[in-house]
Amino acid sequence: LAKTTQPISMDSYEGQEVNITCSHNNIATNDYITWYQQFPSQGPRFIIQGYKTKVTNEVASLFIPADRKSSTLSLPRVSLSDTAVYYCLVERYGGSQGNLIFGKGTKLSVKP
């Protein structure tokens, strides 16, 4: 599976929009992108998943350009409770999804 690269940390303030970009240069045709969020002392929690263009749910938006070599997780109007680590993963359609590679993630700190 394609390796992902994302910033180690980001800082933001309450009410701002936060965009976290993930690189996955070697993504394959049958791969898709998934983002997880992890709060301290909790397991990761699924946020959003997409293959191309734009996906939006009640939590976030995911933007994937045509070449799919990167993706951007967008969190609108963050609050203090959005402080967490965000992981970008590449998964394969129909593959054994057990061996997901999380990496170190991006530690987002939201300040008042």
Partner: protein, 118 residues
């Protein structure tokens, strides 16, 4: 509904001892996963069950680690002769994915068992 439950939430053991960590997945989820997370790192894959069988155990670090899921529901991760380097948070997750599905379902994680080997 109830999420993935892991017990105990914390476990302190002495070097050389044997430990068992339990995972109760979400009812009806056929797939179950164990991951290990060290401080400041992302979760690392250990083993994946589809039903009762281990579909992929390539992440188990050595033969001191073993996991079972005898009835396709609850799973136990067993660690023999624990070492200080085994100290970490052990995460369990489950999902609805069945073999042959083209769209993988998200993983639902428990809050983990924090294992400390002294």
């Amino acid at each position: 509904g109830a999420g993935v439950s892991q017990t105990p939430s914390n476990k302190v053991t002495e070097k050389g001892k044997y430990v068992e960590l339990r995972c109760d997945p979400i009812s009806g989820h056929t797939a179950l996963y164990w991951y290990r997370q060290s401080l400041g790192q992302g979760p690392e894959f250990l083993i994946y069950f589809q039903g009762t069988g281990a579909a992929d155990d390539s992440g188990l670090p050595n033969d001191r680690f073993f996991a079972v899921r005898p009835e396709g529901s609850v799973s136990t991760l067993k660690i023999q002769r624990t070492e200080r380097g085994d100290s970490a948070v052990y995460l369990c997750a489950s999902s609805l994915t069945s073999p042959g599905n083209t769209n993988n379902s998200p993983l639902h994680f428990g809050n983990g068992t924090r294992l400390t080997v002294t």
